[in-house]
């Protein structure tokens, strides 16, 4: 099975990075989260209810929908904040990419640790621009809002192709497919990573560290 990979690109102003990333990540996670599973007798389960809420952006003319789960929101916000800090530290011409990868765990025998097999990866490439005056910023608010709208349509289009999704697991396997740590919703297992490219186009240590960590984990 090949991992499905989608790339979205946006150009935003510095102060719009947070909201743009939140909008796209939450849109993706909205589609990749279900209600909590409640297993009954062997082989049957019922699913909890997922609520949604509208979020208005302050720096972009855009409203997005996210899952009503404060815990999930906190996790995403933390990841986005780290990404933004890294982008900020890299210099004003920074280009970066934040990715959310959905994976399944495959149990391996001791001494090997579980394998994480990604089945879908969304990468959002961000290009931070600097604007000179308020008028440009106002135009940027609207333009970025429209762009994000297009990206949401792209996301929806990909998701509605109904390509591979992990099979619904039995109770013993549920933690290999879903993140059951949240109390109100249950997203598919995911991890958020990012990498920053400086203006010269070379990746910095974040990626290297990740590669090394993954290698050691094997």
């Amino acid at each position: 099975m090949n991992c499905r990979s989608e790339v979205l690109e946006v150009s935003v102003e510095g102060r719009q990075v947070d909201e743009a990333m939140l909008a796209l990540l939450h849109t993706i996670l909205l589609h990749r989260s279900t209600g909590k599973f409640h297993y009954k007798k062997e082989g049957t389960y019922s699913i909890g209810t997922v609520g949604t809420q509208d979020v208005d952006c302050d720096f972009i003319d855009f409203t997005f929908v996210r899952v009503s789960s404060d815990e999930l929101d906190r996790v995403i916000r933390k990841a986005v904040a780290e990404f933004k800090d890294a982008l900020g530290n890299s210099g004003s011409d920074g280009v970066g990419q934040i990715s959310v990868e959905f994976y399944q765990k495959k149990k391996s025998r001791w001494p090997f640790s579980d394998e994480c097999i990604p089945w879908e990866v969304w990468s959002i490439k961000v290009n931070v621009v600097n604007l000179a005056n308020e008028q440009e910023r106002q135009i940027c608010r609207e333009k970025v809002g429209e762009k994000l709208g297009e990206k949401v349509i792209n996301i929806v289009e990909v998701i509605n192709r109904h390509e591979y999704l992990p099979k619904m697991p039995t109770q013993s396997e549920v933690d290999n497919v879903f993140d059951t740590s949240l109390k109100d919703v249950q997203p598919y297992l995911y991890k958020i990573t990012f990498q920053i490219t400086d203006s010269l186009g070379t990746s910095v240590s974040t990626t290297m560290r990740r590669l090394i960590k993954d290698t050691l984990a094997l």
Partner: protein
């Protein structure tokens, strides 16, 4: 084709399609109410949330949808459409978008109904939630209120997109289509898409042409009116049918005792009519066509937002005036679902049965706007040559005929309305609905296109109602002569002290 489907699967599939259609309508209409929507996640399944999504059911919307469906299901050649349009305070209306739930003949025989189709329909609803915030009508709907309102209409049958183009010859250039998603089923593929108008500037320029310059015609700039941004002020909360006082809905003539399950897009004070205009069909209310004969299938319904208080809540026009109403006991749909990873067996049994189709229907009254009296003839702009004649001064009409001065017998809920007609200096907020119509896309002279938030047009709107000058208030004028005289010596003393300054000033003038 259907013979491949077991009876239980067929029954389940029909149920899924029916409730999917109802939920689709709810999502679309709620997204155009003008407010942010929030629902809560619940880890325990309640058994009443279809597709495992917390989507509230606004009873009147469900009622409208069921009426449009009339017991049928969306199917091949039978599409369910929700049309969203905008209606200005002037009475102009424009279609903004049409959402279509269709089915084509491409079948997916192998797909599992109770599991895969259900989950994919759930995913499609989530996509719909996301996409409804992205089309241009969303931003318009968030700003509705004073200048315009958003209306919806549900119809079943053939998709009609002609209203979205500028004119029939440019049909293809007038709108764009976005596909929300598709779900294959054994009896056909369900498709959900939206065709939305792309040229929204059309309306404002058209209106501008029609009405001409406004600077010389709107005379009463300083009539107080409440804030413009009503859209964000009220949470999307509404009372359940059980809380209504008195379950019957009055007939259309009535008024303001509105069914509590009907909601206003704008708070009462926004339904104003200019003091100088006599035509006042307030926004989207009365004259939405032919009051007594409109049918749900033909005429748009006022969008409503639950819970807004006071004044003139607006009610979607319903032809069922006169019938006794019972508030929608239409349950939002039940069934406890129990999914099974292993194939067979149907979904869990229904927890509640649906309200039988012959249950007493809810009647919705048409909400009557302030000063509106459908029965009387009203001065229309057509009868006068002046553009924007509605705002023309009283020369054109006599006070005796002024429906605003002598309001019709139909209920006028807010008594301050009458008082406000004759007071020109009141400056109270909230209680007094106002007399001003503000045009959509007000373009003040000499301002360029507004790119900045604080452009001239916005400045006009925001500062149109400054508080009264203290020196003009009655209190000051009531100051007695005696007090004036008493303060004179002090004033003279001050002036004498500063006499040098005054002399220098006079020198500069010479």
């Amino acid at each position: 084709m259907d013979s491949d489907l077991s009876p239980q699967d067929k029954k389940d599939l029909d149920k899924f399609i029916k409730f999917f259609a109802l939920k689709t309508v709810q999502v679309i209409v709620q997204a155009r109410l003008g407010e942010k929507i929030t629902t809560c996640s619940s880890s325990s399944p309640t058994g009443s949330d279809w597709f495992n999504l917390a989507i509230k059911d606004i009873p009147e919307v469900t009622h409208e949808a069921k009426k449009a469906l009339a017991g049928q299901l969306p199917g091949i050649g039978r599409s369910m459409c929700v049309e969203i349009s905008l209606k200005t305070s002037e009475g102009d209306s424009m279609e903004l978008e049409t959402w279509c739930l269709e089915m084509n003949e491409k079948c997916d025989k192998d797909i599992k109904v109770s599991y895969t189709v259900y989950n994919r329909l759930s995913l499609l609803l989530k996509s719909l939630l996301a996409i409804t915030r992205v089309t241009p009508a969303y931003k318009l709907s968030r700003k509705q209120g004073h200048d315009y309102v958003i209306l919806y209409r549900i119809y079943f049958g053939d998709v009609q997109l002609t209203g979205l183009g500028e004119d029939s010859s440019r049909l293809s250039a007038g709108f764009q289509t976005v596909r929300v998603g598709i779900v294959g089923t054994p009896i056909g593929t369900i498709t959900l898409s939206c065709a939305y108008r792309i040229n929204l500037a059309l309306m404002s320029s058209r209106q501008f042409e029609r009405t001409g310059p406004i600077m010389g015609i709107i005379i009463d700039h300083f009539v107080e009116r409440p804030f413009t941004n009503m859209a964000h002020m009220h949470p999307c909360s509404y009372r359940t049918p059980g809380e209504d006082e008195g379950g019957t809905y009055a007939g259309i003539e009535d008024s303001q005792e509105v069914c509590t399950t009907s909601f206003s897009t704008s708070p009462p004070s926004q339904l104003y009519s200019s003091r100088l205009s006599y035509q006042t069909p307030a926004l989207g209310t009365v004259d939405l066509c032919h009051p007594t004969t409109c049918t749900a299938a033909v005429h748009p319904h006022q969008m409503v937002v639950p819970g807004k208080e006071g004044g003139v809540p607006q009610v979607p026009a319903q032809p069922n005036h006169g019938t006794a109403a019972e508030h929608g006991r239409i349950p939002s749909c039940p069934t406890g679902q129990s999914h099974q990873p292993a194939p067979p067996t149907s979904c869990g049994s229904e927890v509640k049965t649906m309200c039988p189709s012959d249950a007493p229907e809810t009647t919705f009254t048409r909400k009557v706007g302030a000063f509106v009296n459908k029965a009387t003839t009203q001065v229309t702009t057509n009868s006068l040559d002046l553009p924007f004649a509605a705002f023309a001064p009283r020369v054109y009409d006599l006070e005796e005929n002024d429906p605003m001065v002598h309001p019709p017998p139909s209920p006028a809920p807010s008594s301050p309305l009458q008082g406000s007609l004759h007071s020109n200096s009141s400056s109270h907020s909230g209680g007094q609905p106002h007399d001003d119509f503000v045009m959509v896309d007000f373009k003040p002279a000499f301002s360029k296109d507004d790119l900045l938030p604080m452009d001239l047009g916005t400045f006009y709107r925001e500062f149109q109602n400054p508080p009264q000058l203290a020196s003009l208030s009655i209190d000051v004028s009531a100051q007695s002569m005696a007090e004036d005289l008493d303060s004179l010596p002090e004033k003279l003393a001050v002036y004498e002290k500063n006499i040098d300054e005054f002399d220098a000033f006079v020198d500069t003038l010479q």
